[in-house]
Subunit: 237 residues, 4 copies
């Protein structure tokens, strides 16, 4: 759970002492990108313990620095944590942008592809963390951040699906009486919840289920559920 956040707690080789004898100075290593290291440490700890349960000490320790140093880079604890979260949101967003090539395939194919991409994202530890911490804790602690995150992780996804569905309706792939926006929310929110419960909680331990079945069943029901009626195949005036 901490692999991608761990910071190098001391990396003596990168230092540029040469010629001069090591001058016994107390602080070696001016990290080029301290802030980012601190971001990662903060995220790792908050991921593991939750925001409220996270102590500044833990973050510092995780980053291999001392507490006061954090105040050189950030105003206070909240500043660090919230900026860390925003930084991660930005990263995830970048990652998402580079993701879905605008395909010309059929509606079902586009939805399937999107859903599977999304599921793969939801699998990731980081995502599980965000879904938990931000959706719950930040909703109370920092509504602004809550909003930013849901905008990125939910609302935009909803929109993408909504657009696909509308296009499908024009083509006749999707029944016209469907509320595309609501349907989109169902697919994405339902999928996220399914994935999160299955992949980031202990539920499978006492209520086991195969991940693939879960994913495909959900998608399948959805795709069938939005099909136009087939009994009157040309009944679309």
């Amino acid at each position: 759970m901490e692999q991608s956040f761990s910071a190098p707690s001391a990396n003596p080789e990168t230092e540029e002492d040469r010629g001069q004898v090591a001058p016994e100075s107390k602080w070696h290593r001016r990290a080029a990108n301290r802030p980012e290291e601190l971001f990662q440490a903060a995220l790792a700890v908050v991921l593991e313990k939750g925001y409220r349960a996270t102590r500044l000490e833990d973050i510092a320790h995780h980053a291999g620095v001392t507490k006061p140093l954090i105040y050189h880079y950030f105003k206070d604890k909240d500043d660090l944590v919230f900026k860390s979260l925003e930084w991660k949101i930005g990263q995830i967003l970048d990652d998402m942008r580079s993701e879905s090539g605008p395909s010309e395939a059929g509606t079902n194919e586009r939805l399937r592809k999107l859903f599977e991409y999304s599921w793969a994202r939801w699998r990731r530890t980081e995502f599980g963390f965000f879904h938990g911490t931000i959706l719950f804790e930040m909703r109370l602690e920092n509504p602004e951040l809550f909003r930013k995150w849901t905008e990125v992780s939910l609302v935009q996804r909803w929109k993408v699906v909504e657009d696909i569905l509308r296009a499908g309706q024009l083509r006749g792939d999707v029944r016209n009486d469907l509320d595309a926006a609501a349907a989109a929310r169902f697919l994405i929110s339902g999928g996220i919840q399914l994935a999160w419960l299955h992949l980031h909680t202990a539920i499978p331990e006492f209520a086991p289920c195969r991940e693939k079945t879960l994913r495909e069943t959900a998608l399948n029901i959805f795709l069938r559920g939005i099909e136009p009626d087939r009994t009157e195949p040309a009944a679309n005036p």
Copy 2:
């Protein structure tokens, strides 16, 4: 959010009995059932702030008593909070038991009824609170409680839906290639997430949507998605 939990922090009737003498006696309120009052106070505060951010002082104040009194009834803070949550889980469970008469209606009707009942439950403040606090915070702080709650709120519901689906498969109302367990999870988890996001977060403020549409679209897609294939149109007597 605090309607059902608020306790009168001072009992006005006993205060000014007579304009004159009442010697400001230090404490009133012979508690009939303090423990339950404390449960409610604890729930109210934890609901509002989350478990980690809850201070004993707040609970005591909310219940109109002083901190040390809590130790008269409970071993420590966790004892109070966790027992409060369990108490509420029990209540909700009782409530759920008295709910769904075993109907002889068709599969669709039974699912619709169940979903609508459930949605009504998900609307309630208390439920939103549990979904947040327990699913997220208790997952980390008290896995046992997390398990108890998910067992009640999710796993059992899944089973009910699963049974209905299997019965439907026998009747021919539901297609046979459907994995009933996975489908049940999709309906319930998706519904909860939809309801929670819509009813217990600020999302509708910046991404509005009609609740009814949301609910009915989800149900509708699901019901259509589980129908047997109609390509063999005469197979339906």
Copy 3:
């Protein structure tokens, strides 16, 4: 360690309900000698834990009553504890008075008898307790009590020995250049310390020694140490 202090926590047979139906009153059993029961409970607990570590709750529990009841009989905690100690001191003193018949035996015999009586007393749990609690804790907490106790347990004993020694000096059993008062202190204080270390601490577990040897060696050395010089038997002008 608690045998002699345990209070009957409920003794229904002694109640005088007759004729009338048991009136469901909350408080049965007016103990005839509550104070003494409380003394014993207090002593038992203080013995086990020391004065500072003793909580009123413990005493009440030990006596089979509730905390507030103690305030019916005693002003506060200290009042109870100190009176308990005084009560016990009185008891021990009574016991001591009834002890040593004024014997007409020789000096050595009298000393031997006294020392062995005393040693038997020092063996007792209660004594070990007093020696520890009073000598150390009460010296700081209640000097008055410290004084009362040492007067009884030490000073008076010293005097008895001193008198025996002086009598012995007159008879010629004890050398005349001996300071009887100092010698008496050495015998008694040394004996107490020896007995206490051996009988009321864990020392024998890692530094074993036979009790009898200890006792007799000490007495023996003392008796020989106070003998008149035998080399010049009539050298006493």
Copy 4:
């Protein structure tokens, strides 16, 4: 009683450097060796009040620092107090090691010298404190420490005396029927008790006695008490 432990609660030199500017900076005193200062403060307070009655606040105040600082150096209160006691035990032990040169004098001389050295130690405030606090309170609170201390202060001394006595027996200075181990205990335990009662309690106030007489009488009785029988007067060359 506090002479060697008192800490300056404010460092006057840094206070009024210049009459004017000094902006009342919140804290001074870059501690050279805080841990030891805290040891001393802890010992001073525990000495005065006993372990159970000692509040962290007092120790901090005594050391001229604030409570939380203690947690910078020690895990908790017990960690500080117990380590302080161990530190002192170590010091006393060191001190003892550098004490008695192995003399070639006669048995009596060796015992006299040892006893007088010991008495001088028992006089010291610190020793009286240890004898009280450790022998009584630590016996209940921290048996391990009790053992460490008695090992150092009693058992080892006993052994030294025992060895001298055995050597004396070989030489013929000490009678052979004497149990050297028991005799050693009598001398040391009796001496400690005598010294402690006389020097560290209020007893002399109401039962006066000259210290020198006490010390010499005890030693004298002991030395005479271990002599070989003189009934065979010519056996002494």
